[in-house]
Symmetry: C2
Subunit: 226 residues, 2 copies
């Protein structure tokens, strides 16, 4: 089903506007934080890597914002309901050094990929194409893996500290997401399997579980057994 057909249902339409608003502000906030965290970089090449991620997030923001305008929505208004959650997340998880910044960039990028993939399946073909296009350009966080590994090899105590940090990132992300789920009925309903199936809190829980599990596996692979 394409957007023209799917958006005839006002609840579906509201859900997609919420989704695009949430993703757009998420990308804009990520841009800001990555650009800020780039200042912690020990070398200019490292700084350029994080700046590159930031710039990619900005282009994602542009695409999502433009799509909102295209379907006749005011982008700022669509983003507004999600500002507190993202700003809260970033405020609670300001990295205190470069390694924490790298782990955050990698974790954030990976969780975003997982979420985009989960949600794509539930969308009309036009919205799905946009979400997959943005997803396709994600994954710039991989450069962090090698550097974090090298730091742990050099000093194994670093691993313990970063493992705690990764848990805190995930905990804060979950707590902000649950706040959004509680507030935004249309979005939540769509996330758990389409409007027709009605709202099922257990299914939201399962989606969060899948994303958390993937995160835990990635952290273990990185040497951050939590």
């Amino acid at each position: 089903m394409d957007w023209a057909a799917a958006s005839a249902d006002p609840q579906y339409r509201a859900a997609v506007v919420d989704l695009l608003g949430a993703l757009a502000y998420g990308e804009l906030a990520a841009f800001e934080r990555l650009a800020e965290d780039a200042k912690l970089a020990p070398t200019m090449a490292d700084k350029a890597e994080l700046a590159k991620m930031a710039s990619a997030e900005f282009h994602h923001f542009e695409r999502l914002r433009d799509r909102l305008a295209e379907i006749g929505e005011e982008p700022t208004q669509a983003m507004e309901p999600f500002v507190a959650a993202y700003d809260g997340f970033h405020k609670q998880t300001a990295p205190s050094d470069w390694l924490e910044g790298l782990v955050k960039a990698y974790v954030g990028d990976s969780i975003a990929s997982d979420f985009y993939r989960e949600v794509a399946a539930r969308l009309d073909s036009d919205t799905r194409a946009l979400v997959l296009a943005v997803l396709d350009d994600t994954g710039h966080g991989g450069f962090a893996v090698e550097k974090v590994r090298a730091a742990i090899d050099a000093d194994p105590r670093v691993g313990g500290r970063l493992a705690l940090w990764a848990r805190r990132l995930m905990g804060e992300a979950l707590s902000q997401s649950q706040r959004v789920v509680a507030d935004r009925d249309a979005l939540s309903t769509m996330l758990v399997g389409g409007v027709a199936d009605g709202f099922d809190l257990a299914e939201v829980g399962r989606m969060f579980s899948r994303i958390t599990e993937a995160h835990t596996k990635r952290m273990a692979a990185l040497g951050l057994a939590a």
Copy 2:
């Protein structure tokens, strides 16, 4: 003359490496500062405008860095001599509010355009094509003009404060540039008319005068008679 022919002269080659290093670090530093200043934006649309400029600067950085690598230079090493000047400039000119940030974005963007245009004429055809391509994608600062005008209309005292601010920006830019000119002989010699003509401090002074004059005219047009 193209790069292959022109770069046979080691002094010209050194000058271009200096130039590309200076421009590359300037763009990277501008990215960082604009992304930082975007936090001062009163609305999300304003924030997005400044973030867009930042992202454009990052892409300029990438092109200049890639060109350095292409001609066999280590980009970090080429940028290093200019870090102190740019960092010093930005440290001395951190905007204290959104309007100062806007004026800085506009002034910085305009001076960069003027400088790129001045320098392009003195370059071999390959380097010139790169500099003009980057220049062509500059000019994102124009959005600031309208907003600064509206703020002065609403409260004319704002104009006085911002006029002083614009003077401080130009003063600091000149003082850092003069430091670079004094330190980097090959670059300075090229800037004033090509290697063949020898070094002429008066001509450097005239270039600075032209750029300062254009700046003063722009500020007056903006309602910032200094």
